[in-house]
């Protein structure tokens, strides 16, 4: 296993998550429903960008945090989802609904092909192959001018009239994010999710219990690819344009850092990581073009001082307080 997870953190996080995180969820959703009526459209756009990125990061965490696999090029499925909608809407007369459905399906199909090769490898080799095959897909998109417009990308992608206003895009991305998070959450709590954790902890033992570890990992990879494709569709609604940079490796590195920043062992960790990184990139972008340099420094700080991520750290602190409270109660 290459992604090391502290065994004690998950059970602790899960209990606190159930009592705190899910209890606060309805209030958070209510606030998000009201917010666009109180803020300028630009901030609604910014929030919609965070929703899209949060979905992308959470989908990666199914493979990275729950599966323990060093997936280094998740951005490629995001890009394929976005390009599918872009190409269908600009080069065919197919309906928008079909484009929206085909985006995630093609991403999942590509994830199946890439995953089929990758799950045969372990650790760093797994990561390097995802990176190599992902860059291969990027190169095809970059060079296939007739279909993808190459380096120029595709712009002014037509979308239905009801999805042209900032508020409608905001509510659509929010709805899709909530539905997707609910599905992903259910998956992590299902027998499949439990078995994925077991295979992450101990693949040899899992195999000896009758679990087909490769198959489990492939299914997780395909699900993650599907939801990355959904995020890609949301990106098109938001930006109405696509470019090969969506599939370039540095996009994937950003997503990976979002997961690390929020916490791999907490379901909502990648969502928090996405919110922080999107806001930070916007603020840094006002002062310098060297966003990647700032990103590198952030990664360094995370690895050295906050290896469990922000939410993981907060949950550990709450756990410490509860234990101290418990021991005080016991002594009284």
């Amino acid at each position: 296993m290459l992604v090391n997870i502290d065994p004690s953190s998950r059970t602790t996080n899960r209990k606190i998550h159930n009592s705190l995180g899910l209890g606060l969820a309805p209030i958070g959703i209510l606030i998000l429903l009201i917010v666009p009526t109180l803020i300028p459209p630009y901030y609604s756009y910014l929030l919609a960008t965070i929703f899209t990125t949060a979905l992308l990061a959470t989908s990666l965490n199914l493979v990275l945090g729950y599966g323990g696999l060093l997936h280094l090029h998740h951005g490629v499925f995001y890009g394929i989802g976005a390009y599918t909608v872009a190409i269908i809407m600009t080069k065919t007369s197919w309906p928008f609904a079909l484009a929206v459905i085909l985006g995630p399906i093609l991403s999942a199909a590509l994830a199946f092909v890439i995953g089929w090769f990758c799950v045969r490898l372990r650790g760093l080799y797994f990561g390097m192959l995802t990176l190599a095959l992902g860059q291969l897909v990027w190169a095809i998109v970059y060079r296939w001018n007739a279909l993808t417009n190459g380096d120029n990308g595709i712009h002014a992608i037509p979308v239905p009239d009801f999805l042209t206003s900032t508020s409608s895009v905001y509510y659509t991305t929010l709805l899709v994010l909530l539905l997707s998070l609910l599905i992903l959450y259910k998956i992590t709590k299902s027998p499949f999710g439990l078995t994925l954790l077991a295979a992450r902890d101990n693949p040899v033992r899992s195999e000896s219990l009758g679990i087909n570890v490769k198959q489990h990992r492939l299914i997780a990879f395909v699900i993650a690819g599907f939801f990355a494709g959904v995020a890609g569709v949301l990106f098109v609604l938001l930006e109405r344009s696509v470019a090969p940079s969506l599939l370039f490796w540095n996009k994937s590195a950003e997503i990976l850092i979002m997961c690390l920043m929020g916490g791999l062992t907490v379901f909502l960790g990648p969502t928090l990581g996405a919110a922080i990184l999107v806001l930070l990139s916007m603020i840094v972008g006002l002062y310098t073009e060297y966003w990647l340099l700032v990103l590198g420094l952030l990664l360094l700080i995370l690895v050295l001082f906050l290896p469990q991520g922000i939410l993981g750290y907060i949950y550990e602190k709450i756990k410490g307080r509860r234990q101290r409270g418990g021991s005080l109660d016991a002594s009284n």
């Binding site: 997870i5 299902s190 439990l194 078995t195 077991a198 902890d201 219990l209 009758g210 570890v213």
Partner: protein, 247 residues
């Protein structure tokens, strides 16, 4: 129940298993003994599919399982515990057993059913029979060494095997903990009629629990039979004590 014939396995020229032959009758406790490096763990890894044999055959209940993968072998009814503790460190004691029970019922790929209450009774039954039910919500890594060893065996039992392989079940245990495992093996054999194949360094334990013993030396079966026959076998004494002492 299990038939091994002329099994061979080498690693880059080193013959770990040279010519192993073994027959495990249904309902018996069979022990594989031998000095360090005799090939006991390699033999277990070959039976459970974690290693692939160079030649020879392994038949389980009339099915040739020599080329099967570990998960296929488990579904045919062979469970195992490992020499070093091999549990799921980030899961609770309950989830460790539940993982095995879910896989046994082929429910491990269910995507939308909550795992929490699925096969709860069956999981608790296994925990109860091993005296682990009070620890069910504990993180398994917080258990004592002895309890982790018991959990190690309980996980293997969670998949309801017909044949249980125990690889040095008492390694690193105190006399009290060893006695607990001995009682457990006897109970599984007598009360539940489970067929058990075990490797063990503690020869007193082996002669106490086994109805049949196979002696492996330098990857080769040098003796096989009843405990009293093995005790008086010259070739076994030679393998264990060296030629000078026997003469």
């Amino acid at each position: 129940m299990l038939q091994i014939e002329q099994l061979k396995k080498s690693f880059e020229g080193y013959q770990a298993i040279a010519n192993a032959n073994l027959s495990v009758p249904q309902g018996e406790v069979v022990a594989v003994i031998g000095p360090n490096g005799a090939g006991k763990s390699t033999l277990f890894n070959l039976i459970t599919g974690h290693l692939t044999a160079d030649s020879g055959s392994i038949r389980f209940q009339e099915t040739d399982i020599t080329q099967f993968t570990p998960h296929q072998i488990c579904h045919h009814g062979i469970g195992r515990s490992f020499q070093l503790i091999n549990i799921f460190s980030s899961l609770t004691v309950f989830e460790n057993i539940q993982t095995a029970v879910l896989a046994k019922h082929r429910l491990d790929r269910k995507l939308f059913k909550p795992a929490k209450k699925l096969l709860k009774e069956e999981t608790l039954e296994v925990l109860n029979s091993f005296g682990l039910v009070r620890y069910k919500d504990h993180l398994c890594s917080s258990l004592s060494y002895g309890d982790q060893k018991v959990l190690e065996i309980a996980i293997a039992l969670g998949s309801k095997p017909k044949l249980l392989l125990l690889d040095e079940p008492t390694a690193g245990m105190s006399p009290d903990e060893t006695n607990r495992i001995v009682q457990l093996i006897k109970r599984l054999s007598k009360d539940e009629g489970l067929t058990i194949l075990l490797t063990e360094h503690d020869t007193d334990l082996v002669f106490d629990v086994a109805q049949k013993i196979m002696v492996l030396h330098q990857g080769e079966t040098i003796a096989q039979g009843l405990p009293e026959d093995i005790r008086s076998d010259k070739s076994v004494q030679k393998a264990y004590l060296g030629e000078a002492e026997v003469c």
